[in-house]
Amino acid sequence: MHGEPNQLKYTDIHNDVVRSIVETGPNYYIALVTAFALTLICFFFPWFYQLYYGIGAAGMNHPSVWGTYLASFIFWIGLSHSGTLLSCVLHITNSSWRKAMYRSAEAMTLFSLVVAAIMVMVHVGRPWFIHWAAPYPNQMEMWPNFRSPLLFDVMAITTYLTGSTIFIYMGSIPDFAAVRDRTRGWRNTMYSLMSLGWRGTDTEWHRLHWAYTFLAVLIIPLAVSVHSIVSWDFAMSIVPALHQTIFAPYFVVGAIYSGTAGIVTVMFVLRKFMDFGQYITELHFDNLGKLLLVLSLLWTYINVVEVFTGFYSGASGETEALNYRLFGFYAPLYWEMITFCAIAPLLCAFKSFRTSFVPMLVLSIAINIGMYTERFLIVATSLSRQYLPDAWGLYVPSAVEISILLGTFALFTTLFLLFVKVFPSVSMYEVKETMESPKKSPPAASEGSPA
């Protein structure tokens, strides 16, 4: 195997991680500047134009009032799912292979959520009044409508963002402390503050363990609820093909699916560019591949069920919506989605595929393209075919929308690039835990207990 973790020493990890934070090559700066410039050009400038001109800058029209902005919102929320959720599940089930990758997975969660929250701002018509959706006392004596599925979303995403932030921060405190002693200048100040004076005493470890476990237990049902609630934005409507009971599990599975694929991508990048080859190994790709396979089968199953129930119901609206999705204007996208998300992941059945890095990267990207398509189709096909044929329409994204979609990826990359220089992107103490603890060195090893 490539890089035996057991041969590593505690100090090696320490050095590697500190190096990843402190030593910054020109490539990093080039990447950061490029990502930031792309964020500005592709994301913020079109958005400002849209703020000035109105939502009309996007391609939405009368029946299709929702478009790629909402699809991006679901996509990013979905991508956020596996990070913290997976990390919590694996923490509770004591899966040691989680430990090398969970920090960056959680960061993915956090930044995806941030991007998703920004997408809400991009989506709404008057973002300058978005605070009206938050409950706060005001002179109008108006409160948000807590009966609205959209407000469930507001509450759920706020909670999830808070929870994920706290979770990733809590897990990093010992690592901040470890990095603190190795840095100087402004970094030392920053890490001193962020580590809160952590010393690594037995009491602190004990408290951290319990707090962390409680957080994990709280966050698992939260994460499930978040994407269920996102699905209810659609399922609570009476639009054919959206008003489905299966939507909540469908969205949750889809979210974990695309999120897991996202983790594979991020793992690959970290491994390649941060020299973490010793920590992120074939073992991780193997396990993630298995997970992808299971999730793809689940996802396919739910898709089949959706199509089957729609077909079997024979209701005119359902049949029409189904026909349109499978054979209508957007049909190529549908079959592309099926290819990428249902058929391609079957390759993960082979171990040789799972343990090779580049094919896994390609597959993970393909899955996420497919999953984005899924979200787009949910919005586009359902809205353009509703009950009254006279109000049927067609929705094609405009240049502004496509630019903003690309810009979200640049935004995410920018945030992630900043993250790897601030947070130890591999959890040091947990990787150390997975290794064999040092044995007594031969010369000092005389007696175990004092006479």
Binding site: N145, F146, K440
Partner: protein, 179 residues
């Protein structure tokens, strides 16, 4: 006068053993510092209990109640009938309840963690134990396992040093003097 005698060990077993003997020698409960959570601490130094679960429970209950009340009371304050539904509707308000249960559960868990672990370090000492210095060895964050003994007299300092050395400490330090 307060002195901290800290012994550095290369492996967790000897550190634990040393801690055990410090305790049996009536030098108070030593503090262990390690780069990873150590297993078997509770067997040696006695069981640890934390108040975090009470914080979590309180937070969850508080959040749940306040979540439902937030939704119900604000709806009644300025009633806007929607969709032929009652003003106080259970299914949607239970979702709000659920979310706020978790939100406050999380927030209070963190508060509980800070309280019980006495972090952030520095603020706590400033509040209620002005003179307390907490010993720290940077190596304990990397690859060493440290046992810190709080001593109040020179006698106990020597005794602790002796115990630590016999237990196989690679180095024994008096941390207060350094400070």
């Amino acid at each position: 006068m307060k002195n901290f005698v800290v012994g550095l060990f290369g492996d967790p077993e000897s550190a634990l053993a040393a801690a055990g003997s410090i305790q049996t020698a009536d030098l108070g409960t030593p503090e262990l510092m390690s780069p990873v959570p150590m297993e078997g601490v509770e067997e040696v130094l006695g069981e640890k209990k934390s108040v975090i679960k009470r914080f979590s429970l309180f937070g969850a209950i508080f959040g749940g109640i306040s979540g439902f009340l937030l939704a119900a009371i604000t709806a009644v304050l300025y009633a806007h009938p929607t969709g032929g539904r009652p003003i106080i509707t259970f299914p949607p308000y239970l979702i709000i309840t659920y979310e706020l249960t978790i939100l406050f559960g999380i927030v209070f868990t963190v508060i509980g963690f800070f309280v019980s672990a006495r972090l952030p370090n520095g603020l706590w000492t400033a509040w209620w134990k002005q003179d307390e210095n907490r010993p720290y060895v940077p190596e304990a964050a990397v690859n060493k396992f440290a046992v810190s003994v709080t001593c109040t007299s020179n006698e106990s300092v020597q005794q602790a040093e002796a115990i630590l050395r016999t237990a196989g400490a690679e180095e024994v330090r008096d941390v207060t003097e350094e400070n």
